[in-house]
């Protein structure tokens, strides 16, 4: 390995970068854009559910129920309407996702110990959202009934009863169940893959397009030095992107990494190695900047987003897709990020993913060398 040659190639690559700013813009705008978009727009949390109310009963008790719903942090009562049909139009227009209808005589039925019903309509066009809303409402009604019962016993001068079994549920690793806490680390995986592969997808193709590949062939430039020299400037850019992403996650979204910073840097470096060698390989094979760029975006962005356990759980996928997720590098990096960010794990548990990323990086580098050797380097 000749360090002077590597340095000469890296410096040359650095000049290309600063003379053509477009690549540098991409290198820093893409991360910011993705963090903003995913961080603010992609929230899987269900709260602030809009409720429209029709109260035909108009008693203290019915007003109490409505007030209790509105007091919950999950629901927001947007208003009362006089007619059921108006409420259903609210659902049609998407202005509310829940309609709560209290028939007249509701309170009278309760007082007379007769069965008494509240009609609740949920907008089911987003099944995931509707399911969660339904369990919130079920829990709410259960609690409401329990309180009614306790009040009833109290009024009769009886001892309050205690439920025989109480479930003490605690959530580990992401105590507040904030989807942001796993989305922000996941964005880092997507950013590194896109930026790394997209920028390097241009660099060998550019030599072919400018006719300078012939220059390189005529010079004593071994394939390994050529690859490493080309990768170094982009490796530095990638690491800066990682640091920016960690910092933005912390400042904008309060997502703080719990485990070791250096384990994070090690994982990012390996994953970045995979992204850079993938980009270089695409570039050497296609020899066209335009084609290489499009392929790079296509084969990095979608798989990293869809097939990496980031937003869509792998367990729910068909078997064949589950196998595909095993070759998506982001799967392993996101596994590491979840471990480092949420579970505070170390190498003793996460090492298999580190090893797999290392193998992927090595295998892609060997492929790169084979392609370049065949091209006469």
């Amino acid at each position: 390995m000749n360090l002077i040659k590597i340095q000469a190639i890296s410096r040359k690559e650095y000049y290309h970068l600063i003379r053509d700013f477009r690549s540098l813009y991409l290198a820093f705008i893409i991360p910011l854009l993705l963090i903003f978009l995913f961080g603010y727009a992609l929230s899987l949390d269900v709260d602030n559910i809009q409720v429209v109310v029709v109260d035909h009963d108009q008693t203290d008790l019915s007003r109490d129920l409505i007030q209790k719903i509105g007091a919950s942090s999950y629901f927001h009562v947007i208003g009362q309407v006089a007619d059921d049909r108006i409420a259903s139009r609210y659902l049609d227009d998407g202005m509310a996702s829940v309609a709560l209808i209290l028939a007249s005589g509701w309170t009278a039925n309760i007082r007379a110990d007769r069965e008494s019903q509240v009609q609740i309509l949920i907008d089911g066009s987003d099944p995931n959202f509707a399911g969660i809303t339904r369990s919130y409402l079920t829990a709410f009604m259960l609690r409401y009934n329990q309180n009614q019962l306790l009040g009833f016993l109290n009024r009769r001068g009886m001892e309050p009863i205690h439920p025989p079994v109480e479930g003490r549920i605690r959530v580990w690793f992401n105590e507040d169940l904030e989807s942001r806490n796993f989305i922000v680390p996941g964005i880092i995986a997507i950013i590194i893959m896109i930026v790394g592969a997209m920028l390097t997808s241009l660099v060998v193709a550019r030599e072919y397009e400018n006719g300078t590949m012939e220059t390189i062939r005529s010079l004593p430039v071994p394939a390994a030095e050529f690859l490493i020299g080309k990768a170094i400037p982009y490796f530095i850019i990638g690491l800066i992107d990682v640091l920016v992403s960690i910092l933005m996650g912390q400042l904008l979204f309060g997502v703080v990494m719990k485990s070791s910073f250096w384990l994070m840097i090690l994982a990012s470096s390996l994953y970045l190695g995979v992204a850079l060698s993938l980009g270089l390989l695409i570039s050497s094979v296609t020899k066209s900047q335009l084609v290489a760029n499009q392929i790079a975006v296509l084969i990095t962005y979608l798989p990293s987003l869809l097939l990496s356990n980031f937003v869509f759980p792998v367990e729910n996928m068909p078997r064949i897709l589950q196998l595909v997720t095993r070759i998506v590098p982001a799967t392993y990096f996101i596994d590491i990020l979840n471990g480092l960010y949420l579970r505070n794990l170390g190498l003793s548990t996460l090492w298999p993913s580190y090893v797999i990323l290392t193998i992927m990086c090595g295998a892609l580098s060997v492929l790169n060398l084979i392609v370049l050797k065949r091209e006469g380097l």
Binding site: I4, K5, Q7, A8, I9, Y15, R19, T215
Partner: protein, 248 residues
Amino acid sequence: MASEAVAVQNLVKRYGRFVAVEQISSSVQKGEIFGFLGPNGAGKSTTIRMLCGIITPTSGAGHVAGLDIFTQSEEIKHNIGYMSQKFSLYEDMTPFENIRFYLGIYSVPPEKWKERTHWVLEMTRLENAKHRLTRELPPGWRQRLALGCALLHEPQILFLDEPTSGVDPITRRHFWAFIRQLTTTGVTVFVTTHYMDEAQHCDRVVMINEGKIVVSGPPSRIVQDMFTDRIDADLNDVFIQLMTRNRS
């Protein structure tokens, strides 16, 4: 083989069924200017690229600077300079930055960088343009820079593939004066061209057509041998006679 800068025997290059170079055998003595002549597509560039270690020959044997062209292409590249008209400098870099790049790639010891940089800028008369982008320079200047870069590591042999095509006559004359001067320092020059007037500058020439050598020797002797009856004949007549005869 010590006195031979280049020696090849039965060199063949095939691309599939197409034979680009067929059984070429030749040698170049140290310190001479050797001309490799032939029409476009005759196999000149293929041959020079095999000698420079850029492509591997299909069969035959060859040594450049005493190194095997099959197994020691990397070492060959360190010992020769190669310049081609097709071949480009990095145009988004300045002459100074291009020179630095070549110094690094040729692994010239860092303590010599300053001296070599100065030498090239002086030789190419680019001292005042060294911080301008190469793409802004006139073609003649870029050609001088390319030549300078190929000589940065003080190679024993200089390979020039159509070095003067697309360059004006004055620049061409300067170029040949410089090449002459270079051989006085012991450098061997191997040059391909299809300008016959340029071939007069060579100590010895080889003419090839369709991948085969058709004639070789010092230019004046070739002309005399072919046109014993004419005193005004020159290499152009030889070239046209040989190439048309071959075609029919």
